[in-house]
Amino acid sequence: MANSVLIVGAAPGLSAALACLCTRNGMAVALAARNIKKLKAIFAETDASQHLCNASDADQVASLFAELDHTIGTPDMVVYTP
């Protein structure tokens, strides 16, 4: 059952573990964070897409989902872990 996941507030630790697990399960993975530099290690281990986004900004959140509409589509699973 391959589908997709969006992790918002991604950081090393739980988000990294989840991104790797979902990748191993054939899911498309998108990671969004204010600081995506700290996610370098996750991107090295997965083919997750990276999205710069301040989740407390309505326009940035709307843009994030609009961007995903054109790439992975509607995420089947959204994880909010600020």
């Binding site: 507030g9 739980l14 959204v78 909010y80």
Partner: protein
């Protein structure tokens, strides 16, 4: 970091609550709009024991987690009938993270295993709606 309430900065407190609670609202609103159209989906929040108990010198964390729990409960009752499932996980402890000194594995099994929690998240996402 835990801080006595008298030392909390109004702006940093507002910023934190904006990220945790208002940000969760913004993200779930966008996600649920699309999931309704798709016919299914899961939205998961990471909570903590502070979601049910406000601890001393932990005002901001308590506000964050209480707010997130309220949003999760309301959304669950609103969206479950539309096959959109909301999960709020009570993570009762610090998750191991090698990039943070205070969260590194000290060999005493004092930190939670992020891989095990990730497995749990994915398992809930894949649960049958009846379960």
């Amino acid at each position: 970091m835990p801080e006595p309430s008298q030392n909390l900065g109004p702006h940093s407190t507002k910023k934190t609550l904006n990220t945790t609670c208002y940000g969760a609202f913004l993200v779930t609103q966008q996600a649920a709009k699309r999931m309704r159209h798709q016919g299914d989906g899961s939205i998961l929040f990471s909570g903590a024991s502070a979601w049910v108990k406000g601890f001393a010198i932990s005002s901001v964390f308590a506000m964050e987690k209480f707010g997130l729990r309220g949003l999760a409960q309301a959304l669950a009752r609103e969206l479950h009938p539309q096959n959109i499932h909301i999960w709020h996980f009570l993570i009762n402890g610090g998750i191991r993270a090698e990039h943070r000194i205070e969260r590194q594995d000290d060999g005493n099994d004092s930190r939670l295993d992020p891989d095990a929690i990730a497995e749990c998240y994915l398992r809930f996402h894949r649960r049958h709606r009846s379960a």
